[in-house]
Each structure stands twice: as structure tokens, then as C-alpha cells.
Symmetry: C2
């Protein structure tokens, strides 16, 4: 029994993936600095050298992990998007989606700080390509689409639409960072929740140039 579990199989069969999963788990527990090639190999039960059959370098492994982290983040945004009850009014619905995306973003940062930080850590990869996957990911596409819809509905005008994806993104990103590395980390949950709601209000107001409602 349990042949696939036995470690006597010399050829692992799926080592690249197993190492990526282990490394992702390290990121989850300790952020980008915890992604240590030797430790990932250790957890899989394989020599550190074996990793070099599947990853060119430590940087290569980190880059793989980062991609996974970005996917996880976007997944949470989509989950929040799908979780709420759609509004019948198109304007209210687009606003609901804007908030849901932001809420998912912040919620993810707070519940998975290690993954979130790894998704945005510095790297030596070509900066041009480093973010392509993220910016074309469903979560961010949904943000852009929502803003475009708001523009079409006349909720926001051309001037406010300009760069609105970065303005709104900055806002939730900053709050996430202040929770993780900044002075907001020690706030009691009710206050934190209030700040989150106020920030989502503010992001909507920033994009629209006026309060929602």
C-alpha cells in the first residue's frame, strides 16, 4: 500500500511542482525572505541540489512563488466579487463591485500577509514583465472593467476616469501595507474594520469625485 507515499521512489515525478508548493508555503508563513531554496528542498525530502534540475536559481524559484502569490491575491478579489448580492441598479452594482474588489484585496493582505508581501516584494526580474501577469489577471481586469462601466453609466466623467485604476488601487494597497508593516497593525479589530470601510468609501469618492449614495 501507499506506494506513492514511499520515499524509495528515486524519481519524484513531480518535483518541480512539489518544490513550488513547499516554497509557497514558506512564503505564506514568513514572507519573501522565508523563501529559502534549501528549506523547500528539505520539506520535500530531497537534496538541495535536486532543485537545480527544475529551477535555474533561487531567484527563479522566488519568481515562480511570486506568480502564485499574485494568483492567490486575484482569486480572493474574485471571491469577494462573487460573494455579494448583485444590485439591480447598474450604478449601485458597479459601485458594489468596486468595493468588493477593494475589500478582497485588503482582506487578503490581512489574512495572508506572507503571500501578499511576496506578491509585491522586490526582485531582479525584468520590471517590464514582472507585473504583466498581475495587470492582466482577472482581478485587475475586473477593476478596469468596473471603472469603464461607471464611466459609461455617467457615474464618473472622463477627468475622473483618467488613472482611476491606479488611484483606487493605491488607496487599498496603502491601507494593506499600513496594516502589515505600519502602525495600523496593532489596532483592535473594530477600529480596523471601521478604517477599512472608511477607506472603501474614500476610494469610491476619490474615483467619483463625490460620495456614493
Amino acid at each position: 500500500m501507499s506506494q506513492p507515499e514511499r520515499r524509495d521512489r528515486y524519481h519524484h515525478g513531480d518535483l518541480a511542482n512539489a518544490l513550488a508548493v513547499a516554497a509557497l508555503d514558506l512564503a505564506r508563513k514568513g514572507g519573501p525572505e522565508a523563501v529559502v531554496l534549501r528549506e523547500a528542498a528539505r520539506q520535500v525530502g530531497v537534496s538541495a541540489t535536486a532543485a537545480y534540475r527544475h529551477f535555474a536559481s533561487h531567484d527563479d524559484l522566488v519568481e515562480t512563488v511570486r506568480a502564485h502569490c499574485q494568483v492567490e491575491l486575484v482569486g480572493r478579489m474574485e471571491t469577494q466579487l462573487a460573494a455579494g448580492e448583485p444590485e439591480s441598479d447598474p450604478g449601485r452594482e458597479s459601485l458594489r463591485r468596486l468595493r468588493a474588489l477593494g475589500r478582497g484585496y485588503i482582506e487578503f493582505a490581512r489574512s495572508e500577509p506572507g503571500i501578499f508581501q511576496t506578491a509585491f516584494c522586490r526582485s531582479d526580474a525584468a520590471p517590464d514583465q514582472q507585473w504583466d501577469a498581475l495587470l492582466t489577471a482577472p482581478g485587475f481586469v475586473a477593476l478596469i472593467k468596473t471603472l469603464d462601466e461607471m464611466r459609461e453609466l455617467g457615474i464618473i466623467d472622463d477627468a475622473h476616469r483618467s488613472q482611476a485604476e491606479f488611484v483606487s488601487w493605491s488607496m487599498v494597497h496603502g491601507l494593506a501595507m499600513l496594516f502589515l508593516d505600519g502602525p495600523l497593525g496593532t489596532l483592535p479589530p473594530p477600529v480596523a474594520d471601521l478604517i477599512i470601510e472608511r477607506t472603501l468609501d474614500g476610494a469610491a469618492a476619490a474615483v467619483m469625485g463625490r460620495d456614493a449614495v
Copy 2:
């Protein structure tokens, strides 16, 4: 001549300060991870051991550097505050100051990325005390004061005043982070400047619940 420059002085006289300055310079050039005790000692021309006469540990040195970084950041905010022409209308003046503080914050992050990142890097210090100095620093006091003024002037109401310092701070902080570690780092300057202005607009709108003007 040049007796104070000669290295034959066995007792340095101001080694604690010299090490702090060297370490701050390391942070300036390479961020928090570049703050290496041995390197700071090297730059001062002293053995690594000597540092332990003045700092309990590497962490202690980093904490000192962080405090300096926070002071530099706040200094830039105040500079921006003083740089602009005051408006005669109190409402417009408070808005001008809100924008100036934000502009100083973002400008500092972009011109001194290493210092900015060190000001907000993780540390093992007691989280309660870690941010006290920052939150009571003139720059942040100015932010709170400005928001209070806007409240008194009736530009913002009680509901919007609540947590407004964190809402507005998050916004500029997030933009700063996306410039440094995120996908905004490679943007051409004109686009970056536009995003900055739109973000300052947005922060004001978020706080006020409506566009300025």
C-alpha cells in the same frame, strides 16, 4: 594640521553618532537590508566589535536608523508645507496643506526610496512604541491639525472626519509603495506626475466626500 581627521586618535570621540550616520547612508543607498553593522563599522574605519560599545545589537542600530529615516520623511513633508504660497481663504489653505503634506510624502518616497523603506520596514521592536515617534512627529501632527481645521471650517463633517488621517495617509502611502516596489516604478515621469496629482485630488475627495474646487 587636521588633527581631528587623523586616524591615530584611538578614541574616536563620537563613534556612536558616526556609526549611525554611516548606517543611515547604507539605508539610503540600499534600504533596510543594506544596514549591516560590519559595513557601517568598516566605513567609519573601526572594528566591528567597537560598535558594540554603542549599540546593544544589530537590531538596536537598525532601530536608531529607522528613527532617523522617519525624521527625514517628516522633514520633507514640512518642507513641502512651507514651500507653497499660503491661500487667503481658510478653506483653500487647509486643502493646500493637505495636498502639500501628501506631495511631500510621495516625493520623499521617490527621491529617497531606501530611507522611505527603512522608515517602514519590519522590526522586532515593541510595536506599541515603534510608531509613537512617527505619529507624534510634526508632519503627522500637521495632517491631523489640518483635518481638524477642515472639520471646524465645515468643509468636512463628523462622519468624514472619522479616521480621515488614516484614509488619506493610506492613499499616499499606497501610491508611494506602488512606485517603489510595484508596477508603477517604470512609468515615464509625465504619467507618474499625472497619477500623483490624481491621487492628491482623490485623497482630498475621499476626505471631503466630494471634489475640491
